[in-house]
């Protein structure tokens, strides 16, 4: 009986610790920061559209078992690293299907946007 209680206490304790764990940010690519787990960034590419405006494409895969909501955005900056305040950097939301690939496209707000940083945040960890 004591052993059962001990095992239960350990189990409950580990669950509580898991619940308290904060989501960590990691850079799997210099242009992408992921806040959360089970997201694998596979490719980040950018090219100039007609007219010289930059477009960035991020492809990856959710390694989680279940569908999870995320939000994402691209922050753009000019050639001197100054951030550009723009509505295109508004957070977008989507649901990543479990164990499925995903891709995101971001168009720069103009020719002066030279560099970008994509942020992906998992809203509900399973």
């Amino acid at each position: 009986m004591k052993n059962i209680l001990r095992v239960s206490a350990l189990f409950i304790g580990s669950l509580m610790l898991a619940g308290c764990k904060t989501s960590e940010a990691f850079n799997s690519h210099p242009n992408v920061v992921v806040y959360g787990s089970h997201i694998q960034i596979e490719r980040v590419s950018d090219h100039a559209l007609e007219g010289g405006i930059k477009q960035a494409v991020v492809t990856g895969k959710s390694t989680a078992r279940h569908d999870r909501p995320i939000r994402y955005r691209a922050l753009w900056s000019d050639s001197e690293g100054r951030p550009i305040k723009t509505v295109v950097s508004t957070w977008g939301e989507m649901t990543l299907a479990g164990r499925r690939p995903f891709n995101m496209e971001f168009v720069a707000p103009g020719n002066r946007a030279r560099a970008y940083q994509v942020e992906i945040e998992v809203l509900e960890e399973n």
Binding site: L49, E50, G51, I53, Q55, T86, V87, V88, S89, T90, G92, E105, F106, V107, A108, P109, G110, N111, R112, L123
Partner: protein, 204 residues
Amino acid sequence: MTVFRNIVLLGCLFGYEAVLAASTEKVDARIDRGETTVGLDYRDFEDAAADAVQSIIASGAVNNPAGGRYVMMISRIVNDTMQRIDTDQLIKKIRIELLNSGKVVVTTAVSGAGAEDSASFDVREDVRGNDEFDQSRVQRKGTLVAPDISLSGKIMQRNISVGSRKQQVEYYFQLSLTDLETGLATWENEFPIIKRTTNRRAGW
């Protein structure tokens, strides 16, 4: 006894007001994750504007082959929803972004509902030929720039019952960019926003 009851009631009322006042907070729109509303709120307009701007720029429809910027006029934007919406909540964001992109400049002298800013005409009518003004500084005839392209659109709403207790509220932001030389739409897109809620919350 009645006096005591009135004092208690008054106290409760002031307490309730105090709680309401204390619960008011300023929202940081950059990180706001507040509850989704049934109606259209600022986040919906920002989402639609962000998608529209990226789509317009990516399509190349605002790349002027002659070089320089296109002059754009804002045509008719119809609010076909059950809500009272100022369509500028969407259009202003798109205008600002297109202006900042360096691809487009917007005329306020022509719009779907007459001049958006009548000052361009007022100064000509009121000041031209008026001896009180230095005529060398009055705008000359034929200096207003005609638009090359126009932005028009519609915001639609559809309510669909989902079972007996829920409703699906569908909003569609439909936008078109027209080349005024040819009358052809060079860019068109639709940005749907779908919300599902209980019948009680969709009170229209």
